[in-house]
């Protein structure tokens, strides 16, 4: 079995678990080892070269110092609150956009009149970088909670609406007929056939929308916030606390990883009935 040159992925994982030292080459066949290993190598090279070259920590702090700064920020620097505030802003606006966007998308897809009206607005607003709306929204809403909610909502809703419309329109007409034959009312057809069949498409919209929401909330926090990861990032930069800047970036990067892996998992779960 170990002779096979084209060992499958599972087999490689087994080997890595069973005999990690006896066959180090096998380790490189494991994508997880490869991924984390390269990150670790990168950090070691960074640490060592920064130490040898004596780069000023103002420009490029060492990874070990960044980790220390990160721990301190969480312990007594209030980063926990910043993180919580930012997450709340992102997901409150995004949650509203998910509900409103799905309903609006279904409505547009099932009524040509609504579609005719919505088409123009979507065509005008979708390509507009939402970040350009920040000044106007500040004039209207101030810089408090409603502003943050709105900016996050606006970031997520367009991709969700557009993908929902596509998903509903791509529903097999035969399935609608079959549901009608089994006694479904118009409303039941929407809830029991159109929306379920559009879920993969809706989720593609969710992926895009949540990404935009994260970007917009952090950017808005950098512009106006006193709290939140974006504000912390900006303030740390202002006072040249480079280690803190890196620490916040790491938190954002980890947030990104968690969100993206979580979405992958949901995708697999939602797609369990699909081919592939």
């Amino acid at each position: 079995m170990s002779q096979q040159p084209l060992a499958g992925r599972d087999e490689a994982v087994d080997n890595a678990a069973v005999a990690p030292l006896s066959n180090p080459r096998r380790l490189l066949d494991n994508p997880r080892v490869l991924g984390w290993g390269s990150v670790a190598l990168f950090l070691v090279v960074w640490e060592v070269s920064a130490r040898i070259a004596g780069v000023s920590p103002l420009y490029l702090p060492r990874p070990t110092h960044i980790v220390v700064a990160l721990i301190e920020l969480f312990r007594d620097g209030g980063l926990t609150i910043d993180l919580a505030v930012t997450l709340y802003r992102i997901f409150a606006g995004f949650g509203l956009a998910l509900v409103a966007g799905t309903l609006l998308g279904v409505w547009i897809a099932t009524s040509w009149r609504v579609q005719a009206v919505a088409d123009m607005f979507i065509a005008a607003l979708y390509p507009l970088p939402k970040i350009t709306l920040i000044p106007l929204l500040i004039i209207w809403l101030g810089t408090g909670g409603p502003f943050m909610l709105t900016i996050s909502f606006l970031g997520a809703i367009f991709p969700i609406v557009i993908n929902t419309v596509l998903g509903v329109q791509q529903c097999e007409p035969g399935l609608v007929l079959a549901a009608r034959d089994l006694g479904a009312t118009q409303q039941q057809i929407v809830r029991r056939v159109l929306i379920p069949s559009a879920i993969p498409a809706i989720f593609a919209g969710v992926r895009l929308g949540l990404g935009v929401s994260i970007i917009l909330v952090v950017a808005a926090e950098m512009v106006v916030g006193k709290l939140g990861l974006g504000a912390r990032l900006y303030l740390s930069g202002q006072i040249l606390e480079t280690e803190q800047v890196f620490a916040v970036l790491i938190v954002l990067a980890i947030l990104g990883i968690i969100v993206s892996k979580g979405q992958d998992a949901i995708d697999v779960w939602l797609g369990r009935w699909r081919t592939g």
Binding site: D181, L182, V193, W273
Partner: protein, 272 residues
């Protein structure tokens, strides 16, 4: 159940599909026929002659542009009953891919508000009637074509329809699977005594399953002839050796060949 009391009559039904380009399609013209209660009626005819349209009219999904439908109670031929309950088995199966076999079969019962315990009991019965016990929690993509259509049949049967409508139910299956399912359906129909309308392209399928065969003309579809199938039941593949079988087959084939030729002329004329 009023399954054995209901029949449908088409009274000079015509249907014209309007078209934006101006050349409307006359799909059905002057169709006059009767679907007897407790009997299987097969409809056979050239492609595009309006068989599916006829089925959709019976189901109430399309309204005839001329003529009308009547639904009879056989015990009281003068009194019409409300449209009998009908369920369709589709050529393309049309199973909901995000639902399991069990959930597909209980879909209609759930919409109807049947309590869960009864729903499950009826679904299990229907699933075992089509020999799919053990596959309840599979998704459609995990099933072969023949199994998918058995789910389609179970999903229709579980509704206990007065009339079962089958639109080329085995058209998308390979020849061997089709033979097996035809035999299974024949025995299912014989034991349940259901009223069924079966649209098919296969003379063998019609002879195996039907009590009456309606042969339709090329478009616009009319009734060319109604033929009683006086073959003994229960029928199976062995029925094909019955001397009457060959006689009926030849008669239907003769009618169909003429109509298919005409359909080909119409189609090539339409293209030029």
């Amino acid at each position: 159940m009023s399954a054995s009391e209901v029949a449908i009559e088409f009274k000079d039904v015509g249907l014209t599909f309007p078209s934006a380009a101006g050349d409307a399609v006359v799909a059905l013209d002057n169709v006059r026929c009767r679907f007897a209660p407790g009997k299987v009626t097969a409809i056979i005819g050239p492609s595009g002659c309006g068989k599916s349209t006829l089925l959709q009219i019976a189901r109430g999904f399309l309204a005839p542009t001329r003529g009308s439908l009547r639904f009879f109670e056989i015990s009281n031929a003068a009194g019409t009953v409300p449209r009998p309950a009908m369920s369709i088995v589709w050529q393309e199966f049309n199973l909901f891919p995000w639902l399991t076999v069990m959930e597909n079969v209980t879909f209609g019962l759930e919409l109807r508000g049947v309590p869960r315990a009864e729903r499950d009991a009826r679904a299990h019965k229907a699933i075992s009637a089509v020999d799919l016990s053990g596959f309840e929690s599979k998704y459609p993509r995990q099933l072969s074509g023949g199994m998918k259509q058995r789910v389609g049949i179970a999903r229709a049967l579980v509704m206990e329809p007065d009339v079962l409508l089958l639109d080329e139910p085995f058209g998308a299956l390979d020849a061997q699977t089709r033979l097996v399912l035809q035999e299974q359906l024949a025995s299912l129909v014989e034991t349940s005594g259901t009223t069924a309308i079966l649209v098919t392209h296969s003379i063998d399928e019609a002879l195996l399953l039907a009590d009456t065969i309606i042969v339709m003309t090329a478009r616009p579809g009319r009734i060319a002839e109604e033929i009683d199938v006086a073959l003994p039941r229960p029928r199976s593949m062995a029925t094909t050796h019955d001397p009457n079988y060959a006689v009926l087959f030849d008669r239907i084939y003769g009618l169909l060949r003429d109509e298919v030729m005409r359909a080909m002329v119409i189609e090539s004329g339409g293209q030029s």
